[in-house]
């Protein structure tokens, strides 16, 4: 096994500075230690594994067939099933004849990129949960229908219409069919009520469970001892019906919860991070990043992240630390300079000696700062729980009082009055009022590309009056865009751009990439003898591609003003200069690439009466310029903030009574995200930040922030309607039940109607907003 622990990197480094190609990364999955994260052994067949993968790029049933055929053709693969709707596949393979990378590559060849599904076993648990739930619900539903049939004659028959034997027969039949409902369908309610009693707490399930038991006992006694103190009335129909409706509510709740949870877990499916470690013999091997130890020398390719804090020992490059510091410009790092874990290598491959790993890194310190901030988070959920307790105790006291009052009159009637009180109070409507609306809201948000991490965050988001944006990666994309071009007389901006792009094609620097992108594919100039000077610029011979007009190639430089030997008055924005033998030729202004909908989103938020602020770790002039472009008040934009500054600012705003939502991207926003009342993370950011934010935005659209606030406000509107309805209903019906005017069956009907009202009202939320969200 030892030789499979780390697959040697048989391939040359990925060309063009792209992230490591998938084949290499998949070979990491050939390490048996990685298998258990997405596979498990098949019980009966030795050396057979069952793997779960998610396929990217699937859109129909034909895709599933193509993948199945391609993967099945790989030797060693025994069976393949791909779900067209779920985009998931289950592959059984033998470790004697195949490796995961073999069949993963086969799927990639037909155009679908497989990712190991680490969440497969979580979703399997969910599936088992759903099955049991449907089964309980189905039992309650079928039994309810039949018990209703048996109860019907008793309701319509005139006295004397039915023989006593027939009446008894129907009761026995009802009793028999109520038993599975009591023993099986009601089990979760009893289990929860028992657990709460043992912990000396109280929940919505306790009155329900009490009501169920009392109803069943009274009805059973009515069946078998009609002459007993509880009389001969039976309530099997009410009993089965309210169990069925309660379970319907629970099941809807479970389904809506799973839909959000499933989408979120899918986010975590990704290839393991890996890096090339130098072997003692001088060669390199690709190993999982978590295997790196202090003192190892690793080669970090362009596009990869540094696996630990360390020092560059060979080579020079540029790094992107914007995730950690908010600094959006690439920083030059040569031999002997320090690099930090989690930052990205943008330029050339470098050798790094690792000095700190794991908990010791700056990355981990930011994480721990984040955890400290999250513990001080305001928690409104507890308030709701505290409110529920006195209410439930009042219900129990009320039921007991009503039973005591009526006992002298007729014990059977007294108990059913108590049951009517327990059931008519409809803990269902009250308990569903908030989560049903919130889940419907969360589901609608999820379809619009926003995942809700904590349901209660919706409640907070509805009250938000200030939204704080981060700049890099949030309002702007990570890349640059070309601004104005100024040129020497006799040279058109377009021509200058073409020449600059010719040089820039040989470089991976973000500025170069922006120039190449701006110039397009038109290759009018070719270059020779190009040299890149790290941190300064590119130099080379440039001549026209057709070779006709300028036979003599010109020596040109592209880079910083100093590198080009020109004096430019210092400005706040980023520039690149182009110079030839005669000196300055052109200056390219580089702007941060603002997201297309940034200005519109800020305006939409302002229209909802929300104050928009901008806090960034980037230099102040750059922040001010972005603020001007998107229409944020200059007084509300601050640059040069460290994570601590941002957190202080946030606390100060909260102390003034503002309700603050934070929209961030980088890890440096983590503490701030955790300290804000509500927080959004954009999906491309590191998973840790996502875990700490209340909302995760999956797409690139900033507009979703405003939509989310709007939907949160509507959701809370619905929650208020629901609560008012539930309260009014209880205020009317509880007195009626206490004085005995409300029979148990009517109480059950009222309860069902009130909870249906609540659920349907909540579903309005998903029906009406789904269209604009998709548009």
């Amino acid at each position: 096994m030892a030789d499979t622990v780390s697959a040697p990197s048989s391939q040359p480094p990925a060309p063009g500075g792209r992230p490591v190609d998938d084949r290499t990364a998949w070979s990491l999955l050939d390490d048996p230690q990685e298998w258990t994260s997405f596979s498990r052994p098949v019980p009966d067949q030795p050396s057979c594994w069952e793997s779960n993968v998610v396929f990217e790029g699937m859109h129909c049933a034909a895709c599933a067939l193509t993948i199945e055929d391609a993967v099945r053709a790989v030797p060693g693969v025994q069976s393949v099933t791909v779900g067209a709707a779920s985009h998931r596949g289950r592959i059984v393979w033998s470790d004697q004849a195949a490796r995961p990378s073999d069949w993963m590559a086969a799927a990639e060849r037909v155009g679908y990129r497989p990712l190991p599904a680490g969440d497969a076993f979580a979703s399997e648990r969910r599936r088992a949960e759903t099955r049991t739930m449907i089964w309980r619900w189905g039992v309650a539903g079928l039994c309810m229908m039949q018990v209703m049939m048996y109860a019907w004659p008793a309701y319509v028959a005139e006295p004397g219409d039915m023989s006593r034997d027939m009446d008894l027969l129907l009761r026995w039949a009802s009793w028999v069919l109520s038993i599975p409902v009591l023993m099986f369908s009601c089990k979760p309610f009893f289990a929860n009520a028992l657990r709460d009693l043992r912990q000396r707490s109280i929940s919505m399930d306790l009155p329900v469970a009490l009501g169920m038991i009392i109803t069943f006992i009274v009805s059973s006694l009515g069946t078998f001892e009609p002459e007993g103190i509880f009389g001969k009335e039976v309530f099997f129909d009410s009993f089965t019906m309210f169990v069925f409706f309660l379970l319907t509510g629970r099941w809807l709740e479970l389904r809506m919860r799973d839909r959000t949870a499933g989408a979120l877990e899918a986010l975590m499916n990704r290839l393991p991070d890996s890096v090339e470690r130098r072997r003692p013999d001088g060669g390199f091997e690709r190993v999982a990043a978590r295997r790196i130890a202090v003192g190892d020398e690793v080669r970090v390719l362009a596009g990869e992240a540094f696996p630990g804090d360390g020092t560059v020992t060979e080579g020079a490059t540029h790094v992107d630390e914007s995730l950690l510091t908010g600094e959006s410009r690439p920083l030059a790092r040569g031999e002997g300079s320090a690099v930090i874990a989690g930052s990205h290598n943008l330029g050339a491959p470098v050798l790094v000696r690792i000095e700190r790993t794991g908990d010791q890194t700056r990355f981990a310190q930011i994480v721990s700062l984040m955890e400290g901030a999250s513990s001080s988070k305001p928690d409104i959920a507890q308030l709701a729980d505290r409110m529920a307790r006195p209410f439930l105790i009042a219900v129990l006291v009320c039921a007991a009082g009503a039973a005591a009052f009526w006992w002298g009159h007729d014990p059977g009637h007294a108990l059913m009055v108590a049951v009517a009180v327990l059931i008519v109070t409809c803990p269902c409507a009250l308990s569903l009022a908030t989560p049903a609306a919130m889940l419907a809201g969360a589901g609608t948000l999820a379809r619009g590309g926003v995942l809700v991490r904590r349901l209660h965050a919706l409640e907070v988001l509805a009250t938000v009056d200030t939204v704080v944006f981060d700049k890099t990666g949030t309002l702007t994309r990570d890349a640059f865009a070309l601004g104005t071009v100024t040129t020497r007389a006799g040279c058109s901006p377009q021509q200058a751009l073409q020449m600059a792009a010719a040089l820039a094609r040989r470089s991976l620097h973000p500025v170069s990439r922006a120039l190449v992108r701006a110039a397009g594919d038109d290759v009018a100039w070719v270059t020779d003898a190009v040299q890149e000077h790290a941190g300064a610029g590119v130099q080379g011979l440039v001549r026209r591609a057709d070779g006709a007009q300028t036979a003599e190639p010109a020596s040109m430089r592209l880079g910083s003003a100093r590198f080009c030997g020109v004096d430019v008055s210092p400005t706040d924005s980023l520039h690149a200069c182009l110079a030839d033998e005669d000196g300055w030729l052109a200056t390219f202004e580089l702007l941060e690439d603002l997201r297309d909908d940034a200005a519109a989103s800020v305006k939409a938020l302002a229209a909802q009466g929300i104050e928009v602020q901008l806090l960034s770790g980037d230099v102040a002039p750059a922040v001010a310029r972005v603020a001007r472009q998107v229409g944020i008040d200059q007084n509300h934009a601050r640059g040069g903030c460290t994570p601590q500054d941002k957190l202080d600012f946030l606390r100060a705003a909260q102390a003034r009574g503002r309700r603050v939502a934070m929209v961030g991207d980088g890890l440096n926003d983590g503490p701030v995200l955790a300290g804000a009342h509500a927080s959004f993370a954009f999906g491309q950011s590191v998973p840790l930040t996502q875990a700490r934010s209340d909302f995760v935005v999956l797409g690139e659209r900033l507009k979703t922030i405003g939509d989310s606030v709007h939907l949160a406000r509507r959701t809370m509107g619905i929650v208020r309607q629901n609560l008012i309805w539930a309260a009014a209903y209880n205020a009317v019906c509880v007195p009626l039940a206490v004085v005995g005017w409300l029979p148990a069956w009517l109480a059950g009907l009222g309860m069902a109607a009130s909870s249906l009202f609540v659920v349907v009202n909540a579903l309005r939320l998903s029906a009406r907003t789904s269209d604009p969200a998709r548009a």
Binding site: C143, Q146, L169, A173, V176
Partner: protein, 45 residues
């Protein structure tokens, strides 16, 4: 009307049988991927 003394117990048995059918369907996964059955006709085998 005496036939009811046979039919009512029979209906109880019938409900229990239907419940058995439901159990079989749920635990065979019939309700998990409702789209797959419609797409099965597209498959070759």
């Amino acid at each position: 009307m005496d036939i009811l003394f046979l039919l009512v117990p029979l209906s109880v048995v019938l409900v229990l049988l239907i419940l058995g059918g439901l159990w079989w369907a749920i635990y065979r996964g019939q309700f998990e991927d409702v789209e797959a059955e419609g797409q099965r006709i597209l498959k070759d085998d």
